[in-house]
Symmetry: C3
Subunit: 363 residues, 3 copies
């Protein structure tokens, strides 16, 4: 991972200044930075750390005065966080899974693996699986019968991909991620209390317990290119058609995507988001951590939901939402400001009633 | 999976009409349906898709006019979703784990496996384990020392079952499901801030930090018949007695059931539900996605909690609840309607106070 | 696990009374207690169960009248739950993983294992890993390249520890726990709608979709001594520096700790807690189940957050919080009492407005 400052700047398409022949072996926070690393001081408030550490070179925000910071070299980035993306890819040592097919793996003879594929120890590749070139399948992974995965996949230890899924190129599954488990779909012989409570908004009528009959998941999961699925996340298979995840969508740890749900392109589902079944989510949506979405909801393109927003009804494109239940963010902030003053408001109303009833003895 | 329309209708106990000798190989959504599949058009709004696809036969709602839809045959289902249960079971190709005991598995010689048991590659069966007939134990599964599992279990890849658990017939554990991990039980030498804050409802007194001592989980987990546990779900073992899950209860992905908790029969715990320790949940309860339940709570039979309901106190039988903290659903809907109008209400009260104080110069 | 009552009392530093030579093989709840177990009747309300069971000896609260309960012996504990900690450790049979290095494991020749280390079947120990004395590494575990783990670790089946992590002594990872997966860090070429909505508190301007570029996680995870990580929990690695977990901190099932986050010492993160990236959490903090914490938040020492509290802004030391968004618990209780009365309050204000406008015809 040794690079000169000049090489890094060239790879990132950025301007390098000073002694750009300095070699760095990695990155570090400014205050902990040894001389052989590149300090990441991407905002003015991080720059003071440089003096505490031993950095000779740093990545700085666009207008930074690198010489005043006592550096010998710098890379100037107008949008440093974006530059960090390419820089971190250059510097990433990864998990270091040894290359090649491990002898203690179980690969069905009908599976077709592309060129330069790694399969780690104790991994299982089922019948009729097709895996593209350059895939790195870590240890203890399972890829089920008939599933196709594109080129350059990276499946981390313990990931489980079910049968008959279709996955694009550059797919990443983190530790113990799950794709293609059965959906959670059960039905009662007669209309259940839930069905009645939904119709009446709260009354389940004469509650009569019935056992649940299982509906098997005959669909699979279809995933586009450049998708990630986080640790211990779970993407259910569909009931009749496939559950679908669009190109470029990133799914964080412990996220649940229910059966039949369709998630668009370039959407972020952050940690612990829970999406029920048959939901439709647009492109460029961001659902922050712990957001919950009820079944059969539609969320339009470019919607943003803040942390733990609970979505119980559909959201038009472009909205920014917060709260339980979800409101527009500005309305939520105003409402919750009023909520904090509600006990005082109650007292004020009580006083007003007293005052008004005193004025009007006939009342 | 080839069946004639007549065979399917007979298996489901439903009426078939038209050319019931047509053979189908699976099911499909109406608009994507090839001629060799059965179109699922279970509501009038799905029927228009039939003309776009190539279905010759469909499953339709009870009163459907199948001939007007251009079909050659149909199965008429008065409650089509319920019919889908048996139909999907007939059509489900499953995960396709190869039958038999894989040579790269680790089965303790004292374990007793029933007839026709499959154990996949890299699975571990501990000492004194007893597994019933017909069990399919997928790859990379762990069944701990002394655990008993009934007949016809289906343990998907990566499921981990701890030691000394007792599990009924027809148990299903999805990918990476966990049963029988230690509970989360810690205690401080002297009363902790949490204990004090609970007593005083908010005041922990002079907060004094103490390290936590671990309480080991000596109990196990007892699970009835016909139970499912979802992907990455976790059912803690009990402290002294067992944590218990009743017959027919279905547990979705990423659900947490805390130590000592008792869940009744035919209850649904949907995705990401979190139940703390020592909770008692009745029969035929439905907790929708992300519902949270505090420790030592009782939830009566037939209770329904909507999505993300947070249960901080016990709920009598038959209630339909929503919100944080949980209210009766109709009360919640009325309250949150009022909450959205709260900023306006605040302004109205401010105006009233001004008006009333003008009227009463002595105020 | 056979012990006399006298031995147990001595080990716990507690007073034993009656025939302390009685031998017990384990513990039980009073009503189900066989004669060869110690009944756990740690509060007066549990004592009535003793008559229903067959216990000869019990652990009782400090002032209990053991003879009146018909017992032959008792251990008297002034704080019985604390005594249960040491007692349960004495009685815990554990998961029973067989000792030694299993032949079907994959241990890199450069890994250094301490004395008396167990490695279960189908486990993987990467290059340059260092593991201390007495570690029990269960089956199907992964420890990544260059990671160091201290003495007496217990890694349960399916736990996945990523590369280049540093973990202290007595570490426990439960089934399928994850430590050291990549963080969820993505950036757009130009300022995203999320960045704009954060600045404006709700307005993302002209929403323009941009694909997300990945930021790799170059940091690792550093964990102190005496830390536990629950089933299916996930601790992300840091971006530049390590994510950090302090000594004595206990992390429950399905908890998410985001990249760069620093958690202090002796803190409890209960089930399904979700902590975003770059959060700082103090010592002796308790976050109850499902608590959510936004990124870049600071939570001071000794803070307690009740179940499902959503933390959107920093919390000073010592506070007890509840609600979405988090309020001080007493304020929350008062506010939500008022919220339940809000529909009535709205009606009262409507009546007042009518009354006041009648009085003032000029209005």
């Amino acid at each position: 991972m040794s690079h000169t400052v000049a090489e890094i700047a060239a790879a990132l398409g950025l301007e390098a200044v000073g002694d750009t022949s300095i070699v760095v072996e990695g990155v570090a926070e400014p205050a902990d930075c040894p001389p052989d690393r590149l300090a990441m001081a991407m905002k003015p408030e991080y720059a003071e750390g440089i003096a505490k550490g031993s950095a000779r070179a740093a990545m700085l925000w666009g207008e930074a005065d690198w010489q005043a910071l006592g550096l010998e070299a710098a890379i100037l980035a107008p949008r440093p966080r974006y530059a960090l993306s390419a820089l971190s890819a250059m510097m990433d040592p990864g998990q270091g899974y040894p290359a090649g097919i491990h002898p203690m793996s179980a690969i069905d003879p009908t599976a077709k693996l592309g060129r330069d594929v790694t399969v780690g120890p104790f991994s299982v590749i089922g019948a009729d699986v097709i895996i593209g070139d350059g895939a790195v399948i870590g240890p203890q992974v399972h890829v089920g019968w008939g599933t196709r995965i594109g080129d350059d996949a990276l499946l981390h230890a313990g990931a489980k991909i079910g049968a008959r899924c279709t996955i694009g190129d550059r797919f990443i599954a983190h530790f113990n991620a799950v794709v293609g488990n059965d959906g959670f779909s059960f039905v009662t012989p007669e209309a259940s209390g839930v069905e009645k409570a939904r119709e009446t908004l709260g009354d389940q009528g004469e509650a009569k317990g019935q056992p649940w009959a299982r509906i098997a998941s005959l669909g699979g999961v279809t995933i586009g290119d450049d998708v990630e699925v986080g640790a211990a996340a779970a993407i259910d298979r569909g009931t009749v058609r496939d559950t679908r995840i669009g190109d470029g969508t990133k799914i964080d740890n412990q996220v649940q995507v229910g059966h039949n749900t369709v998630v668009g392109r370039h959407t972020l589902l952050c940690g612990q988001v829970g999406i029920a079944g048959s939901v439709t989510i647009g492109d460029f949506v961001v659902l922050a951590g712990q957001v919950g979405v009820s079944d059969n909801i539609r969320i339009g393109d470019n919607v943003i939901c803040g942390g733990s927003t609970i979505v119980l009804s559909s959201i038009p494109a472009g909205r920014v939402m917060l709260g339980y239940p979800a409101m527009k963010m500005d309305q939520h902030l105003e409402t919750y400001k009023a909520l904090r003053r509600l006990p005082r408001l109650s007292r004020e109303v009580a006083e007003l009633r007293k005052a008004v009833s005193k004025e009007d003895p006939s009342d």
